[in-house]
Symmetry: C2
Subunit: 208 residues, 2 copies
């Protein structure tokens, strides 16, 4: 183990991830970060050119760590549906245990400029997104892998994203934020849809 001696630069990034994800870029000052690290603001500029550079470094770091884990799950040799189940569980686990990461993602969807989006898509997510799409195509050869992949992600992540609001909505239980409960619900939905009599489905296709 040689990675024990963390340098100041890494410590700064760690604190930045936490602070930026909690409050967003504009609401975190260089003073805040320096204070959290335990140095003076001026010292920060020895390690990073400016605030924006530090922010980008934080995002990159935070994102690439998760990518590795998810890619590994998709590479396993397992039956498709089981692999999907494990993927859902892993995704829910990662998103739950690392809330800062998830919030950074949410913020990027709102505030990320084109360049950053393209960078994230191509350099970070593309590979696993394709892999997930391929898995879904194996399960259903006629599916639209792009749409279906996003649907998987949405089902898992949106539950966590809306947690602050859901807590005040009727019918809320603590289990609704637990990895197992969410995974189970999502997997069931994907396997069976909303359980119902499929007799009348065609009625619903007509439009006035």
């Amino acid at each position: 183990m040689d990675a024990i001696k963390e340098n100041t630069r890494q410590i700064i990034i760690d604190h930045s991830i936490k602070l930026f994800s909690q409050s967003g870029y504009a609401n975190v000052s260089v003073r805040d970060i320096a204070s959290a690290v335990g140095i003076k603001p001026a010292s920060l500029y020895y390690h990073f050119e400016n605030k924006q550079t530090l922010y980008l470094a934080s995002i990159k770091e935070s994102f690439s760590l998760k990518a590795i884990v998810l890619a590994e799950v998709l590479r396993r040799q397992e039956p498709e549906t089981l692999k999907l189940k494990h993927y859902i569980e892993t995704l829910a686990g990662l998103a739950t245990e690392d809330e800062p990461f998830r919030r950074l993602m949410q913020r990027e969807m709102l505030d990320g400029d084109e360049k950053r989006m393209q960078y994230l898509a191509e350099e970070v997510f593309q590979e696993q997104f394709d892999a997930l799409g391929m898995l879904l195509t194996e399960i259903d050869p006629q599916c639209d892998p792009h749409m279906s992949a996003i649907s998987i992600l949405s089902l898992v992540l949106y539950h966590l994203e809306t947690a602050p609001l859901r807590g005040f909505l009727r019918g809320y239980k603590k289990e609704h934020n637990q990895v197992n409960y969410i995974s189970q619900h999502v997997f069931n939905l994907l396997m069976n849809g909303l359980p119902m009599n499929h007799i009348n489905v065609n009625d619903a296709s007509e439009t006035a």
Copy 2:
């Protein structure tokens, strides 16, 4: 003909909604808003106590308009599955046509404090959320209405939320952001689950 003369207060709110949803609370200055309206910053303080008050007024205004439309759909006398189909289409339509609204929601999930969350949950969303849950319970009496309702919302809204990133991911097509395409995909998923070795895409050819 008395509603034609919009007062300054309303004009300020309209511009605030747009600006806040585009850039977020911290990134919009009182000067920006005043400039957009065409008045001086000081004049703004005649109509609103401070920036925070103006922000809350904007949110409330923006949210309550949508609530009415969705509630109406759920009150109709229709077969359950058809009602669900219409709800999905309406939700997708609202979220697509009013992007500022959707972005304000996203931002509230990230930055809203407890008080604001509780206010939104109880005063704005509770009623329709319950109604949607009841509809889902009719479709599947054994479902968890809270989880299932969120799943519906997630499937529709997450596609739009991730649009900026998806555009750079392989397999992306323009249709993926269209109301009909999203509605159809979500409805099919809910009816049949993932392994849809099945029916139509023919119905999607309708023009809304």
